[in-house]
């Protein structure tokens, strides 16, 4: 499997699993978010490593983001930032299975509209989802790979999974 397909799959699986973990089932409706897709709340988080670097963005309508909130009193901005952080965490931990280690920056939040990945460009993975109870979610990764061969070499690194508690 090539680099782009690997990242596409990671992004799809990680986003689906993240929203499912918070009780909000989502389904893919387009492999690449169309121009003009409406998603007013966006969190962006950077990552860097020896062979892979870039940024991940999670953009969504307010309603599906609010339905995932475990604490209703928290702000939309704070919660989508944490969702992006947890989404990148899932992607990072899966990348470890390929021997790819990346480190994250802290997230930032933007409010806007009609945000979409650049069309016809390599090194951009994006998925448009729709929540079962309404609302759209866009996840995309814009990345650079310095060593595709190394990237594609799978490694069976044992990693801590979401929800794990390890006492030393």
């Amino acid at each position: 499997m090539g680099t782009a397909q690997t990242i596409d799959n990671l992004l799809f699986a990680s986003t689906t699993a993240l929203f499912k973990a918070y009780g909000v089932p989502i389904a893919e409706i387009a492999e690449r978010p169309p121009r003009g897709a409406h998603a007013p709340l966006c969190a962006v988080i950077g990552f860097h490593g020896q062979i892979l670097a870039g940024a991940l963005m999670l953009a969504a309508d307010l309603e599906p983001v609010r339905r995932t909130r475990p604490v209703p009193s928290t702000s939309d901005r704070d919660w989508i930032a944490e969702l992006a952080n947890q989404l990148l965490g899932r992607v990072k931990n899966k990348l470890l299975g390929h021997g790819i280690e990346v480190y994250a920056t802290t997230p930032i939040v933007l409010r806007g509209e009609r945000i979409a990945p650049l069309g016809g460009t390599s090194n951009v993975s994006g998925v448009l989802f729709e929540a079962r109870d309404g609302g759209r979610i866009i996840a995309w990764v814009d990345y650079e790979v310095t060593d595709h061969a190394q990237f594609e070499k799978a490694m069976a690194t044992e990693v801590a999974r979401e929800g794990d508690v390890v006492l030393f």
Binding site: V71, D78, W79, T157, D164, V165, V166
Partner: protein
């Protein structure tokens, strides 16, 4: 008297989520938004039973905070558990070497976190 747990995370949502899980079980939760704020708080609140700490935070990250706590005499024995999206073995090893008592990967399961806190605080 309820035991005080210091939750250090730059996400208010996570801090409140942890507080919501711990408060009904008799723990008092104190919050800090990053490592610097945690150190300031600890300087004036010595009766913390355990620190639950994120890794990626602005100003001072969780691993740097862990190392500072365990280098200082008064807080050297304070149990610290990391609560993070990170899972890299190198980071777990760094935390372990610096004296962390545990590592929890977000999103966390409240009953497992409670069990770990009870075990490390003796109730």
């Amino acid at each position: 008297m309820s035991k005080r747990i210091l939750v250090v995370d730059d996400s208010a949502s996570v801090r409140q989520q942890v507080a919501q899980a711990l408060a009904p079980e008799g723990f008092e939760v104190v919050e800090a938004g990053d490592g610097v704020a945690a150190l300031e708080l600890l300087a004036g609140a010595p009766d913390i039973a355990l620190v639950l700490c994120d890794v990626n935070m602005p100003r001072m990250n969780g691993l740097d905070l862990l190392e500072k706590l365990h280098q200082a005499g008064r807080t050297a024995a304070m149990p610290v558990v990391m609560l993070t999206t990170e899972g890299q073995p190198a980071l777990l090893q760094r935390a372990r070497s610096a004296g962390a008592k545990g590592w929890i990967v977000k999103p966390f399961k409240a009953p497992l976190v409670l069990a770990a806190i009870r075990k490390l605080t003796g109730g």
